[in-house]
Every structure is written in structure tokens, then in C-alpha cells.
């Protein structure tokens, strides 16, 4: 007697969440803009016959001129501003996405173990997080990047090291309440070890929170990287990054604001997009949050 047409079409939670995300036009627009900027940063520099560290002494401090090869002009070494900005974007986006991924993974595992195991181990692990929170952020990053030997890899490691704390705290809270649920008890009764339970039950159940939070980590990493490069302790000249380009732009802003506006505008656009995407993901994964 059952009427097949009345039965709901089975849909996975994920496909429902993705559909909710696609209906959010602001988030979708952000995705499109972000993809365009990423394509420009990763492919754009190859369209020009020079790279961003190459000085053209015949065209020093050239202004915006769409008829010349230097579309947005050059800096006071005759280096092409657009190419430098795109190359800086490549570094920032790489560090941002990779950094958020690594920091997210570390945070999830740490938080899941701490929250699930509980007791004294939990207290010790959380005290460590608290101590690391107490560090002045800049000093910690400088010390760590010195400790890791300087350079971009050390900077990356230092950024990750400072950013896994908040996901760890969030996941711990979730793991704590998950640990009391019946299906975890059932898993234990069936003879699963703590390690198996954490990896197959706790971690997957925290995923939606983690995805939402990690999407917020990406702009945070990019912001931190450019903040440090702005201060001259992140990515250093002659290699371009949004932070050190903006720093150079502020030094020259009273005479030539173009050097500030292009990298600052691109950085702000990327951060806007990432924030809107994170909001969209939160609404899609966690409609009750709003």
C-alpha cells in the first residue's frame, strides 16, 4: 500500500548542508571571487616576462598605466607592483590554507584526546593550553621561528604552533559531552580501545564544528602572516608578501597611495570572502546557531 512518491527522497546530511550553502548567495559570490583571486595569484605571474624580484631600472616609480607592461606601475626599485602583489598572494594563500589544515588537525586530535580521556590527563593538557595562551603572541612567534631556524618554513611552523589552541579547546568541550553518550558506551562494551573510539566516533562527530572553525582559521593565519611581515619579522624582502608590500605602501602613502591600495585591497577582499564563506558554512552546518 505504500506510495513511493510520498516517501522523502533519501538525502545525506552532507548534501543537505551543501545545498543550504549553495543557497547563500553572499557565500557563493565569495567562493567565486576567492577562486578568481587564487587563479590570478597562482597563474597570473607567469603571464609576465619578468618576476616580482626583477628590477627594471628604466621604469622606476612608474604610475598606473594600462598601456604599458607594468599595469599598476612599479616600486622604487622598478619592480612590477601587480606581479609582486600576486606573488605575495600566492605565499599568503599557501600559508593560510595549509596552516589552517595543520593547526586544525593538531587541535582536533589534542582536544579529542583531552576531552575523551578526562581526569588528570585532561587537566594537565588544558593547563598547558592555558600557559601557551598566556604567552605574548608576537614574542612566541619570534622565539619559535628562531628556534626552528628562521625562514618561511619556520614562520609556518610558528604560526601553526600558536593557532591550534582554540580548535583544541572547542573540540575538547564537544568530546567531553560525546564521551558520555550511549553509543560511545556501547562501543566500549563491544571492546573497542580508547584510540579506536577517538578516531572512529569522537573525531567524526566533531567534524561539522571543526570545518566551520577551520574556515575561520584560514583568514586568521593569513592575517597573522601579513601582520608579522608588516612588522618585518615574517616574510622578508626581496620576497614579496602582502604584509611587507603594505608596509612599503604605508611608508610611501603620502606621495603615492597606489603602492598601499593594491596589496591592501586584495588582502581585504580575500579576508572579506573568507569571512563570508565561514559564515555561510556555519549557517549551513549549524542552522540552530543563528
Amino acid at each position: 500500500m505504500s506510495d513511493a512518491s510520498l516517501a522523502p527522497i533519501p538525502r545525506s546530511t552532507l548534501s543537505l548542508q551543501l545545498r543550504r550553502f549553495r543557497q547563500n548567495w553572499l557565500a557563493m559570490l565569495s567562493v567565486v571571487i576567492l577562486l578568481a583571486i587564487m587563479a590570478a595569484c597562482f597563474l597570473g605571474p607567469y603571464l609576465f616576462p619578468f618576476d616580482g624580484e626583477e628590477a627594471n631600472f628604466d621604469a622606476i616609480n612608474q604610475g598606473v598605466d594600462f598601456t604599458s607592461i607594468h599595469l599598476f606601475g612599479t616600486d622604487d626599485y622598478g619592480r612590477d607592483l601587480l606581479v609582486r602583489t600576486l606573488e605575495g598572494g600566492r605565499v599568503s594563500l599557501n600559508i593560510g590554507f595549509l596552516g589552517a589544515l595543520v593547526a586544525g588537525i593538531i587541535g582536533v586530535l589534542y582536544g579529542a584526546v583531552s576531552g575523551f580521556v578526562g581526569g588528570r590527563i585532561d587537566r594537565v593538557m588544558m593547563r598547558l593550553v592555558e600557559v601557551l595562551y598566556g604567552f605574548p603572541y608576537v614574542i612566541l612567534v619570534i622565539l619559535l621561528s628562531l628556534l626552528f631556524g628562521g625562514g618561511n618554513v619556520a614562520l609556518f611552523a610558528a604560526l601553526v604552533f600558536t593557532l591550534w589552541l582554540t580548535p583544541a579547546v572547542i573540540v575538547r568541550g564537544q568530546a567531553q559531552s560525546l564521551a558520555r553518550r550511549e553509543f560511545v558506551e556501547a562501543a566500549r562494551a563491544c571492546g573497542m580501545t580508547s584510540r579506536q573510539i577517538i578516531l572512529t566516533h569522537i573525531v567524526p562527530n566533531t567534524m561539522s564544528t571543526v570545518i566551520v572553525y577551520s574556515s575561520l582559521l584560514v583568514p586568521e593565519v593569513i592575517l597573522s602572516e601579513s601582520f608579522l611581515s608588516f612588522l618585518g619579522i615574517g616574510i622578508k624582502e626581496p620576497q614579496a608578501s602582502w604584509g611587507n608590500l603594505i608596509q612599503g605602501g604605508t611608508a610611501a602613502m603620502s606621495t603615492d597611495i597606489r603602492l598601499l591600495l593594491l596589496p591592501a585591497g586584495l588582502l581585504a577582499t580575500v579576508l572579506f570572502c573568507l569571512n563570508f564563506i565561514a559564515d555561510g558554512l556555519r549557517d549551513a552546518f549549524d542552522p540552530n546557531e543563528r
Binding site: 598566556g134 608576537v138 614574542i139 631556524g149 583568514p219 612588522l231 591592501a264 581585504a268 572579506f272 569571512n275
Partner: protein, 306 residues
């Protein structure tokens, strides 16, 4: 109350002790030292100089020496700035950072909470959308982009305020305070709006209205007390970070605060100054977290009884 305070103070001291230990050894593990420079120093002189700062003792002895000093509130001499002690350096810069930071916190809280409440009361109205735009800008556009743009527009183009520097006039303070407050306005208005919307749906708010208490009093007295709790929790750590000086703001506006020492001390391997700054920041963080928890307990009996 006294039990709560002693427990929190004890926890704080333990955290601070761990922080001091960790900073001390991480700092010493990092390569380079305060006297490694391009200029060659003769080994005898180097040995003499190092001995005068006790840098030739075994690390553990140095650590105990330092801790004994900290217990007596003696944070040692700065290595980079000769003839100055760490306390002198930090105390001379702190008034500037505290002034800017204090007003930035006040502005951020007042403006942020007001925007949040208005947004929550008139959802999807013009003011809600404007507050939303301000929030998105404040969160997404970094302070080191906003501050130079403010300099260009308000100082160079309009000439309302000086570009930077510390002067007798209040005009010097306006741009740095606004720039420092803006990202916090953004966070606080978002937190307030979300919490206010939730609180207005609570049973106790409906009960208060049903008993005939006026709308304004319910909003400002009953609902706001509940809605402000997440803001207070945010303000604890945020205040510690803001009043210890923003490196970016102090660099861009050329202010003589302590923010720049955070970078310089670590880069120069000025060991005592790094330790001093870490203790100062860590101390502020602990104190303001305790204050925030006390305030939350005073506002909300549920927190108090935990």
C-alpha cells in the same frame, strides 16, 4: 568569594610560574645571543661582558638567579638599553600604552554594545545592516590597513588630526584610539547582537514583560544583564592584549608605548626584557580574566554558583 579569589590567584600564580619557566628555556634554546653581532668582539671582552650579566653560569643557575630576582620584584637590567632596568623601561612606556588602551576598551565596549543592542532590537533594519557592515569591515580589514588609510584621509587630506606622535593635545589620541577600538567594536557588536536576540526569547524576559514591567526597563535591566555576559568574557583577555600596547598602532602613529619592545626585545635577545614583558602580559591576562569572571558572577547567579 574569598575562597574563589584565593583559588583563582593560586591557579594564576601557577600558570605564571609555568609561563616564566617555559619562556626562559625556549628563549635560551633559540640560536644567537645578545652579543652576537657582525662586529667582532675579542673573546676576553665577550667573556667579561657575559660574566657581568651572569650569562656564563650554567643555565639552571641563571634560572634560579632570575627567579630569586622576580620574587623580590627585581627584573634585572636590560642588556640592550644599558643603564636601564627592565622595570624602568616598562614603567616609562606603560602610561602611554595604558592611556590609549584604556580609552580604546571604553570606546569599543560602549559603541559595540550599543550597536549590538540596536541591531538586535531592530533586526534587518537600516541600523542593523550598517552595524553589520561595520562589523565585517572591522573583522576583515586588518588594523595595519585601516590605520594608514585613516592617516591619509583624516590627517593629510582633511587635516583634522595630527598624523602621529604624542602631544599635549587630545587630538593626537583620536586616530590611534579609534583604530585600536574598531576591530573590537566589530567583535563586541556581533557578540552582543547574537546574545541579545537569544536573551529576548528567554522565559524570564517574557515573565518580566507579563508582570507589566515597561519595555525599556526589561531591555536595559533584565535582558541586557544576560546578554552582556559573553562580552564580559571576551573583554577579559582582550583588555589585557589592548592595554599592553598594540605594536602596529604604536609603530604607525609613532607612540612611545611598550608595544615595540615585544618585537625588539625578542629580536635583540634582550633576555631580561623579554622575560619582563612576558610576565607583565601574563599577569595582566590573569588579573583581567579573574576580574571578568567576578563581573560575570556578579551579573549572573548561575555563574556564581558554579
Amino acid at each position: 568569594m574569598i575562597r574563589f579569589l584565593t583559588k583563582r590567584a593560586g591557579d594564576g600564580l601557577m600558570t605564571l610560574a609555568a609561563l616564566v619557566t617555559l619562556t626562559f628555556f625556549v628563549m635560551r634554546l633559540a640560536p644567537g645571543g645578545p652579543f652576537s653581532s657582525n662586529r667582532k668582539i675579542s673573546p676576553d671582552i665577550l667573556a667579561n661582558v657575559q660574566a657581568s650579566y651572569h650569562l656564563d653560569d650554567p643555565l639552571v643557575v641563571q634560572f634560579l638567579h632570575y627567579v630569586w630576582g622576580v620574587v623580590r620584584f627585581d627584573f634585572g637590567p636590560s642588556i640592550r638599553f644599558r643603564d636601564y632596568t627592565v622595570s624602568e623601561i616598562l614603567l616609562s612606556g606603560l602610561p602611554y600604552s595604558l592611556t590609549i588602551g584604556f580609552w580604546a576598551v571604553v570606546v569599543a565596549t560602549v559603541v559595540g554594545v550599543t550597536l549590538g543592542i540596536l541591531g538586535a532590537l531592530r533586526r534587518n533594519s537600516l541600523i542593523d545592516y550598517s552595524a553589520g557592515v561595520v562589523a565585517v569591515i572591522g573583522i576583515a580589514v586588518p588594523i595595519f590597513v585601516i590605520a594608514p588609510l585613516m592617516q591619509v584621509y583624516f590627517a593629510l587630506t582633511l587635516g583634522w588630526f595630527p598624523v602621529g606622535g604624542w602631544g599635549a593635545s587630545w587630538r593626537n589620541l583620536v586616530l590611534p584610539i579609534v583604530a585600536l577600538a574598531l576591530p573590537n567594536i566589530a567583535y563586541i557588536s556581533r557578540l552582543t547582537r547574537a546574545a541579545m536576540i537569544e536573551t529576548l526569547r528567554e522565559n524570564y524576559v517574557r515573565t518580566a514583560r507579563a508582570k507589566g514591567i515597561g519595555r525599556a526597563r526589561v531591555i536595559w535591566h533584565h535582558a541586557l544583564t544576560g546578554a552582556i555576559l559573553p562580552v564580559v568574557a571576551y573583554l577579559g583577555p582582550a583588555t589585557a592584549a589592548i592595554i599592553t600596547g598594540s605594536i602596529v598602532i604604536e609603530t604607525i602613529f609613532a607612540l612611545p608605548g611598550i608595544g615595540r619592545h615585544f618585537v625588539d626585545a625578542a629580536l635583540n635577545r634582550d633576555y631580561p626584557l623579554v622575560m619582563g614583558i612576558t610576565i607583565l602580559y601574563g599577569g595582566f591576562l590573569i588579573v583581567f580574566n579573574i576580574l571578568a569572571d567576578m563581573l560575570r558572577g556578579w551579573l549572573d547567579p548561575r555563574v556564581r554558583n558554579e
